[in-house]
Structure formats: C-alpha cells, structure tokens
C-alpha cells in the first residue's frame, strides 16, 4: 500500500517489516519519532532508556539474546553511546543490531552541528544513509541483512530533512527471521586485551569485505547524465537537491552506504567525467575519501561546511540561474522560540536573575531561560554539564562562588547524566546548589515519558523513580521541593540553600503546562485602570503579556492563569479571572 510517511516513521516501518523485536532509545530531535512509531507496533518491545549509552548496551544485550534490535539517538547522543559503539565494533552481534543516528545540519534544535559520519569511520562500523522515506524503510531492512551477514552493528544515518520529511512509501508485511540461539563465546564477547587483539584483525577484514560489497551494491548507484563536464558524488538529502537543481544534466554517483565507501566504483566513475564534484553537507567526508584515492576533486571549496544546502545553492555553484524573488525590504522582527505561557520554568529563572546568580544551564526547554528578557543562564554545553560543571566552578571559585552560583537541569536530563555529576558533588564535597526543574515529562522533544514520570513509552504505569530519594541516596542531605508558581517560596529556598554549608538540591516541581492532564484556572484579568504602565510584568518574558497604549494586555488565547505575573504587579492590575 502506498502511503505518506515521515522518514522516521518509515524507518520504524522498516524495523517492523524486518522483524525487529527490541527497541531502546533516548529521545532527541530529529530522531525521536523512530522510536515513538516503533512503539505503536504491538510486536515490538520499545522503551525509553535513561540515556543513549544504556540504550545501545540494552540493544546489544537483546541482539545477543537472539532478537533483531535497534536503538535511536540524535547526533550528540552518539557521543554518549560512543563507548559501547567502539567495542561493539569488535564483538559484533548475534541477531541484527541497527543504531539510528540523526544529524541536525542547520542546528534546528541542537547545540552543535557535528557530522556523525566520522563515527562510522572511526569505530569501523558500516553506515547506511537514506535520502527519503522509501529508502528509510528499505535501508532499515537491508541494514539487518548486512548486520547478520557481516557480524556487525550497522549505523543508519538520518538528518533533519530525511527524518522530518514525509514522502511516499510502499509498505510490506512483517517477516520474522529465525530466532538465533545465544551461545557463550568468550573470545567474541569478552573484550579483554587477549581477546580484543584477536578481534581487531576481524574488524579490519570485515571493513575490507564490506568495501567489496560496496563496489557492486545497488544502493551505490550511478545515474547517467547528458554531459560529462562534471560528475557528482552525493548522498542523503543532498542527492535530492542535486536532482532538483540539475535533473539529469550530469552523471551522479549516489552513495547509499557512506562507510565503508567503494574505491574502484568511485575511481571508475571519476575516469568517465571531466571534473569530479562532491555535494555533501557539513564536513568533506566523501571528498576526503576521494582525495585518499588520489582523485582530483572539488567539494568544500564550493559547498560550505556550515549549515544546510538547498537546490538554489547547488544551482548557483553549477551556474544554473536561481529563480527570481522579491523580499519585502522591511525589517521583519525575529521570532525566536520562547517558553510557553504558563511554563513552570519561567518564574524560577526570574528569581535567579533577581538574585544575580551565575547559572550553569543544561539541555532542554529550560535552555530558553537564556533568552531575553530572562537572560538568566551563563552556560549550556551538553546533557548533564550543568551539575558537573557547577562542581568545578564551586571548587575552583571557593566560598564566594559557592554562595553565588547554581546549576539548573530538567528531570529527564538529570536522570540521563546529571545524577553522576551529583554523585561527584556529594563524594568530593563541593558546596553546590543544584536545582532540578521537574516538569514531570521530557519536554523539548515533545513529551516523552522518563524514569521519574511513572509511565513507560507504551503509556503503561511503571516504577516511578523518586528524585528526592535518589538525591538522598547519593549522599545529598539537603533536598527540598518548591512550587515554581510561588515565587516567594522559590526565592527563600534558593537563598537558604546557597547559604547552607553543604551541598543541596532544590526540586522545582510542577508539570509542563502543555500536558493534557494539567488543569489551568483560566486567563488572568488585566485591569487597565489599575495598571501604571511600569512594565514589571514584562520582565518574565511571557508571550501572553503585552502592552497596549501603555497599559498591560493579556492574550486570552495563550494565558493559562499561572499567576506569576500577578505576583510581580504592585498595583493589583493583574488578578484571577472569572
């Protein structure tokens, strides 16, 4: 049946059709929907793991047990999972194992623009790269065959445009492979030096064998062109830009497997064209490979390492006219993302800013606490870096820093990798104050459950990990809970914990305002008679509040009635509605 599917949904379909039985992932844009869609198939066990390393190790365990398994992550998640990745390269698999990784060129929702293809080469694990949803489905199935035939995990590399574009796919039936028995095999699965030394040559031999496969594989295909002035090598979404911009003007070598790459095929292709050009986003990965084959090639001198490409960029570089267009020539104000109206994070950032503290931030919706007018965050690096960074900041900065700085981290991010930082704080005794922004969900990626919510990926009730108990268990004695809608209570808590002569955790707890089960009191009423136009309420950066003719105005379609602005108004101009 022909249907429109998001690239991520198509990958999930491919997993299903290939008989995948086990999925363990950590959410991350743009990879999240692969796992969410896989979870909708009853035949697939699917879960959210606390982080990507745990997810990949769980998927390996499932593979060893004999079930085709999968795990997904965003590009930066692969950094977290890199430790198992490099050694899984040595152990190989039992049943097929696929690692989905989604890059985010253009940084639509990420903290860096890293190119995950380097991981395939560095870990010596093969990588397939679909260019649309149909290939997403097909490559997922192919990846399992390669995984089992060559005894290796296979990386399936997505990107924002492939993950989040819907295109036409034809679905098939689920076919279950024969269950593979687990057999104890210390030489293959115990990677201590003596064994690993014997496995490494196997890894190198495998890469040579896969290179041979790449020479003739259908997924590395040459499409003929009208003129051989140029020959283009490309992959993924860049293939689509090339075809859109140039049609069949020049021959194209489309690589479906990006590691290992063929050698003879590329050399033969290069020999048939006058000038070899690589069109790829981010780093010159294919280009470097061509250079290593001794070929004259152009790539990054034409196409930037920064951001995304498009059909117009390709047209421009190949001398094809780009379509005319007319800009308004008007200064259009930016519309950056903002914390939602009623977001429980807003007030805590207001308090931190009022207290003029150094705030080490983390990854999640609350990174928006960095945006004006709140501007309350000093650093954002990676998952968990707020807690561990604060420890170093306080240790090196001494008493003065200890009393003037905090870490802020979300519930899901805390479980992901904040808790290890907290253990360091307890164990090495820094007088740190950590604020866990517990909104009872993984917010930024679109409401995924996590170990602190009491529900699993399938939506069933499950063990709920208590943040209070966890913090106590790792050695933090001072743990207190505040309601972020109560600003005075927040201020008091932060001041007291900063003054305390030992590490402490403040759990700022209120569910995300967008959760369906959260009941809101309804919009705040603004009284223009009482408003003096002081704009104190504007300092919290709420999208529902604006000024009209010098008086406060509430947007009733956005306001949920959290009452935070009410606490800022000295003149009683803002109050509960009817």
């Amino acid at each position: 049946m022909k249907t429109l599917m998001l690239g991520n949904e198509a990958v999930a379909r491919g997993l299903y059709e290939a008989g995948c039985s086990f999925v363990s992932s950590y959410p991350g844009t743009p990879s999240t929907e692969i796992t969410e869609c896989a979870a909708k198939y009853e035949e697939i066990y699917a879960e959210w793991a606390p982080n990507e390393k745990v997810a990949l190790e769980a998927a390996l365990g499932a593979s060893l047990a004999g079930k085709r398994s999968f795990c997904a992550m965003k590009h930066v998640g692969l950094n977290v999972a890199a430790d198992p990745l490099f050694t899984i390269s040595y152990t190989g698999v039992n049943a097929g194992l696929i690692i989905g990784v989604a890059d985010d060129a253009g940084m639509h929702s990420s903290q860096n623009e890293q190119d995950s293809r380097h991981y395939a080469k560095a870990s010596k694990v093969p990588m397939l790269e679909p260019a649309d949803s149909a290939e997403g489905l097909a490559f997922a199935k192919l990846a399992y065959e390669l995984s089992e035939q060559y005894d290796t995990a296979v990386l399936l590399k997505m990107c924002t445009r492939v993950s989040h574009s819907q295109s036409v796919v034809e679905t098939g039936e689920r076919r279950m492979p024969a269950q593979k028995a687990y057999e104890k095999n210390p030489a293959k699965y115990i990677m201590m030096p003596a064994n690993a030394k014997r496995r490494h040559p196997e890894v190198e031999a495998r890469t040579r064998a896969l290179t041979e496969w790449a020479e003739t594989a259908d997924i590395n295909r040459i499409e003929p062109g009208q003129k051989n002035t140029y020959g283009i090598i490309t992959s993924s979404t860049c293939y689509q830009y090339v075809k859109e911009a140039l049609g069949d003007a020049y021959p194209v070598l489309k690589l479906g497997m990006i590691w290992p790459m063929p050698e003879k095929k590329i050399k033969d292709f290069a020999a048939t064209v006058e000038k070899l050009i690589v069109v790829e986003e981010l780093d010159g990965f294919i280009e470097t490979h061509c250079m290593s084959l001794g070929l004259a090639v152009s790539g990054k001198e034409l196409f930037s390492e920064i951001g995304e490409l498009s059909q117009n960029v390709v047209k421009e570089k190949f001398g094809v006219p780009v379509p005319q267009n007319k800009a308004l020539g008007e200064d259009i104000p930016m519309r950056p993302p903002v914390m939602c109206a009623g977001c429980p994070h807003r007030s805590i950032f207001y308090v931190l800013k009022q207290l003029n503290l150094t705030v080490l931030g983390d990854i999640g919706c609350y990174t928006l606490g960095a945006v004006q007018p709140l501007g309350a965050i000093d650093t954002t690096v990676c998952m968990g870096a707020s807690v561990s960074g604060l420890h170093g900041f306080v240790k090196a900065g001494g008493e003065e820093k200890a009393k003037r700085s905090v870490a802020v981290i979300g519930d899901s991010t805390f479980i992901h990798s904040g808790v290890t930082g907290l253990i360091n704080i307890a164990y090495n005794e820094s007088n740190s104050t950590v604020i866990i922004l517990d909104n009872s969900i993984t917010g930024m990626t679109g409401h995924q459950q996590n170990p602190t919510t009491g529900y699993n990926l399938k939506g069933d009730p499950c063990t709920k990990i208590s943040l209070e108990d966890l913090c106590h268990a790792v050695g933090i004695k001072r743990v207190r809970v505040v309601d972020p809608y109560d600003m005075e209570a927040c201020r008091t808590a932060v001041k007291e914990e900063l003054e305390a002569e030992e590490p402490s955790v403040i759990i700022s707890r209120r569910p995300c305002a967008l959760l369906k089960y959260v009941k809101h009191p309804g919009p705040i009423c603004a009284d223009p008679e009482k408003c003096k136009g002081c704009k104190a309420c504007m300092n919290i950066g709420c999208p529902a509040i604006s000024m009209e003719n010098g008086r406060v105005k509430i947007d009733n379609t956005l306001c949920v009635g959290c009452g935070v602005c009410e606490q800022l108004c000295k003149f009683g101009a803002l109050g509960a509605g009817n």
């Binding site: 075809k243 007319k326 308004l328 008007e330 259009i332 104000p333 993302p337 903002v338 930024m444 950066g541």
Partner: protein, 190 residues
Amino acid sequence: METKNIMIVGVGGQGTLLASKLLGRLLLGRGYDVKVSEVHGMSQRGGSVVTYVRWGDQVYSPIIDKGEADCILSFELLEAARYTEYLKPGGRIIVNSQQVNPMPVIAGTAVYPEGLTEKMAALEIQVDAINALALAEEAGSSKAVNLVLMGRLSKHFDFTQEEWMEAIEHSVPPKFLEMNKKAFELGQSA
C-alpha cells in the same frame, strides 16, 4: 507536470502540522508524488515555523527554496511577510490577518511593522487576507484556524469538495469533525 509548491508558515503551536497532514493526504489521493517537510523541536516553542508541501510527477527536494513557492499559507501576518522572498513572481499569499507579537516586540526591542498587507501587495503578490481567527471562533474553536485557511486555499486549487472532505475526515479526530468542516466552509465562503 511541473512541481507545485505550497509553504505553510506560522507560529509554533498554531497547528501548521495538521494543515500539512491534510494536504499530504489530499495530494496522495490524486496519485501525485508528494513531499511534506516539517521542522520539529525547539522552534515549535512559539518560534517561527515553516512546512513545505510539494507535489508533481516526481519531487526530489523536500524543501522549497527562494522564488519557488506558488502559494504561502500563513497563520500570522508577520510570518507571511518574513517569507515573501520564497514566492514565485506573481505568487499568492493567503494570510490570517491575526497578529501575534514575537518576543522582541513584546520586550520592546523591535516594532511590529505596520501596513504589511499593503506592502506585500505592492510587490505584485496576490494577497488574500482574512480574519481566520474570528471565523474559527464562529465555527466553535480558535484552534480551527488551520481549517479556515484550508478552506480559503481550496478556492485556488482544483480539488473537489468530496476530496477535501475525505482528507479532513482522515486528518481530524471524529469528535471535532463537524466543527472543522464548518471552519473549512467558512474559510471557503468568507
């Protein structure tokens, strides 16, 4: 046929994804090759959001580039103005005249430009501005702005009422079907 391009733009949270889902269904029903490209994640938090809908005999790129769009369907006035350079010369903008202030305007560091509809029209763009919010509320919910705009769009594309209704039925929950159909019809007739 030449590939057709519609951009759906708006403010994160306004329901642009439903509009693209509905269009995708409609176009696939006609047997076209279709690509619909969305951006999820951070921009959905009240930021500027863009969805590309493309269809034809064979569609390669998932995105629409500058100068390529036949039509921009905008859920908000400023967002229409932001993307005018993506229109083909003589292209069409269907815009909800509602204004949603972005944070720099709320914070007072930027000004919401005035007379945008007229300025866009001066670029030889066919501007069709309607108060989709008022019509959505008339239909029963401010959330039905997307269906009002779809109704408006239907006037410019050659699809039957039956095809539209099938796509709507497939894309909205049964509970809100009648309200959404009403919103669609109000958009058509306004």
